[in-house]
């Protein structure tokens, strides 16, 4: 120790300005953070924006596709056909379990202008759909590249309130939120929302953790139309749902993961999306899906291209491919959700004519199913999501319903 420079020791031991500098650096970090999290509402896209975005973009021969589970035959016949015809390869991943959590996952990357690794994402017409559009995270679509859509998409899907004129999105499928139950345990015919609140099924009822889905059902059970609901209605619905939870009726709040527990018997009766049950039944689950007499809610899942996508041209090609009635029919045959291409019905009926026995019956039933090809009367019975006017309203809505699922 004796040969240590005394100045060295002083430097080590004297508390002083240098130390304050260190704190200064930390303060710099604070200043950095103080800028806040990025986020600015964008003006709606104009035709010039479309041209600007698509100018100079060419196909690269590959698409990365992010979708929900139970939205395509696991053998992916449509994608194989697409690759056969176009030479474009597709990586398909079932990574979306819930709209909000998926959005939260991709939002920071989109905000930073980075690729999220997917060229097509499928988003429900809810809160997050609006946010993606408002924040300018999704590419405006070049309809010059969408001949099938123009020709075969139903008129109703071209003027959806959440994206009139399909500036940012093309419908993938439409579904209905209703009630599914397992007849192995439930020995009665379920027809009403009341069953979800019935103490008889204490600890065996599943509800969705998505605030819009659960809020809608709370309101519908009280006879309120969600689309026209007010903040006071939300409070009432929340009370009803809180009561349902505190009585121990609700087993758990689920995302897409409700299907297995329903099949296993952990829950007997649950909020459900129309097509899921059909697909689970292909494995012999024997589940039932009903639209309650008070009405279900209808929603649309939409294909979108993130602005930062690496292969937007290939993506838009694939999106248009799904509007070929043959392809739409094949898809509907498997997933049992409402197809935006009603011409697919003819294709299914043609298939049925060619088939025989069990297959023939299945296809005929499908073509007649109100869950895949709803009639105008069916549509009239269904309710729509509440569209929020501004983020404050949405925040208020969430602060009312979020505490229910995170008790």
């Amino acid at each position: 120790m004796s040969n240590l420079d005394p100045a060295f020791v002083r430097g080590l031991t004297r508390p002083r300005r240098d130390f304050l500098k260190l704190f200064g650096a930390a303060g710099g970090g604070l200043a950095l953070a103080a800028c806040g999290v990025e986020g600015k509402k964008q003006a709606p896209a104009k035709q010039s924006d479309v041209q600007k975005y698509w100018a100079g973009k060419t196909g690269k021969g590959h698409v990365d596709f992010a979708n929900w589970p139970l939205y395509m035959d696991p053998k992916k016949p449509e994608l194989k056909l697409f690759t056969q015809r176009t030479g474009i390869t597709v990586t398909y991943k079932e990574v979306i379990q819930e709209a909000a959590s998926f959005f939260a996952k991709i939002q920071p990357q989109l905000a930073a202008g980075q690729s999220i690794g997917y060229d097509i994402i499928v988003i429900t017409n809810g809160i997050q759909f609006g946010q993606l559009v408002d924040l300018g995270y999704v590419a405006p679509l070049d309809h010059g590249k969408l001949p099938n859509f123009a020709k075969y998409a139903d008129a109703a899907y071209k003027k959806e309130s959440f994206d009139p004129g399909n500036v940012y999105s093309l419908p993938w499928a439409t579904g209905i939120t209703g009630i599914a139950y397992n007849p192995k345990y439930v020995k009665e015919e379920i027809t009403s929302f009341a069953s979800l609140f019935d103490p008889k099924y204490k600890g065996k009822v599943g509800m969705f953790s998505d605030t819009q889905e659960i809020g809608n059902f709370g309101m519908l059970a009280l006879g309120i139309d969600p689309e026209k609901s007010t903040a006071a209605d939300w409070q009432r619905a929340a009370e009803k749902l809180k009561q349902q939870r505190d009585q121990g009726v609700v087993r758990k709040y689920y995302d897409q993961g409700y299907v297995d527990p329903l099949a296993k018997g952990d829950i007997w009766i649950t909020q459900a999306w129309s097509g899921d049950v059909f697909q689970k039944n292909l494995e012999g689950a024997g589940l039932k899906f009903v639209i309650p007499q008070e009405g279900g809610t209808i929603w649309t899942d939409n294909m979108m291209i993130p602005k930062t996508a690496e292969n937007p041209v290939d993506a838009i090609t694939l999106m248009d491919f799904f509007y070929d009635p043959k392809i739409a029919a094949g898809l509907a045959e498997y997933i049992n959700y409402v197809t935006p291409v009603s011409a697919a019905k003819q294709v299914i009926l043609q298939d049925a004519a060619k088939a025989s026995g069990e297959d023939k019956k299945t296809l005929t039933d499908l073509a007649a199913s109100s869950l895949v090809f709803p009639t105008p009367a069916d549509y009239a019975q269904l309710r729509h999501y509440r569209a929020f006017k501004n983020p404050q309203e949405q925040k208020q809505y969430e602060s009312i319903f979020q505490p229910i699922v995170t008790a």
Binding site: D5, A7, F8, R10, G11, L12, D18, L22, A25, A26, G29, L30, L32, A33, A34, C35, G36, V37, E38, G39, K40, K41, E98, A100, S101, F103, A104, K105, Q107, Q131, D134, L135, K202, G203, K204, S209, R245, D246, G248, V250, R251, K252, Y253, P261, K264, G265, D266, P391, Q394, K395, E398, Q402, P403, V405, T406, A407
Partner: protein, 287 residues
């Protein structure tokens, strides 16, 4: 070396460690703190407004989840001691040449990912599953009996998932107890029980202490077990924070809750260390 350069030397020397701390600890903490004091939303962005009210709101809204998290963490930690101590004791004292093999067996399930392990419990414990289905068909439990979606299931999951972190430090402490001390105690008229209570237990307490630190904190802030094994009234503060970050995207609330949880845990650990971390406690235990 000039005088001035010499005076700066210590700072050069602490720079690698200091930078590491700054990058991986100070800067994220400061950013989190800043975030917790901002207001806004994802669409319009967040602005720093020094909005301390978020903390008050967080604690008022979610105090039951905070308390529950501490309770679940505590319960699982106690269970881990009750289960882990005998296991560690047996391996350390009676493991012989196979100690390493036993430790390996103990850790084997933990080569599987945390979430998968928890999911496999969900499968195993489901209402009509392997265990309960069999018991129900044998008429041993009520038809509507269920384990999943209860606080017990969450505590059980936490206990299972963090058990090795309790066993290993206790094992190390026990392994380090000089066997001659046991002989000495035995020689001085202490039977098995007295030898354990007066010598082995006090000497292994530092291991238990370390085990508690290593398991209580992650258990109290866990959210996977409550998600997978819990039901409607088993939400832990970890779930709320996860939800605020990744679903609602209320970043300020999530950050404020994180800080609140961190503060609660730090205070708890500080009190715990003050109460149990000194040698006097060992002495009292040994008397």
């Amino acid at each position: 070396m000039s005088r001035r350069a010499a005076a700066l030397t210590p700072y050069w020397l602490i720079m690698p460690g200091g930078l590491w701390l700054a990058i991986f600890f100070v800067v994220p903490m400061v950013m989190m703190l800043s975030l917790s004091l901002q207001q806004g939303d994802v669409v319009n962005g967040f602005q720093l407004t020094w909005h301390w009210q978020t903390y008050v709101d967080g604690v008022t809204t979610y105090h039951s989840q905070i308390v529950r998290s501490l309770q679940y963490g505590l319960a699982s930690t106690l269970l881990q001691i009750v289960i882990g101590y005998p296991v560690a004791y047996w391996i350390a004292m009676h493991g012989g040449d196979r100690k390493t093999a036993y430790l390996f067996l103990l850790l084997l399930p933990f080569f599987v990912s945390f979430v998968l392990r928890t999911l496999s419990w969900q499968f195993f414990l489901s209402d009509d599953g392997i265990l309960l289905g069999t018991l129900k068909s044998l008429g041993l439990v009520e038809q509507d009996y269920h384990v999943l979606a209860t606080g017990g299931a969450v505590i059980g999951g936490l206990t299972y998932n963090f058990l090795p972190f309790m066993i290993l430090p206790i094992y190390v402490a026990l392994e380090r107890v000089d066997p001659r001390l046991l002989e000495a105690a035995h020689d001085l008229y202490a039977g098995r029980v007295q030898t354990f209570l007066r010598v082995v237990l006090p000497l292994s307490l530092p291991g238990v202490f370390a085990g508690v630190l290593m398991t209580f904190v992650p258990a109290a802030s866990d959210y996977v077990n409550a998600t997978v094994l819990g039901g409607t009234n088993n939400t832990m503060i970890g779930n709320v924070i996860q939800n605020q970050y990744l679903v609602t995207q209320d970043y300020p609330m999530a950050s404020a809750l994180s800080f609140t949880l961190m503060g609660a845990l730090l205070v708890g650990i500080f009190l715990y260390a003050r109460a149990l971390g000194t040698e006097d406690v060992l002495e009292v235990a040994a008397r």
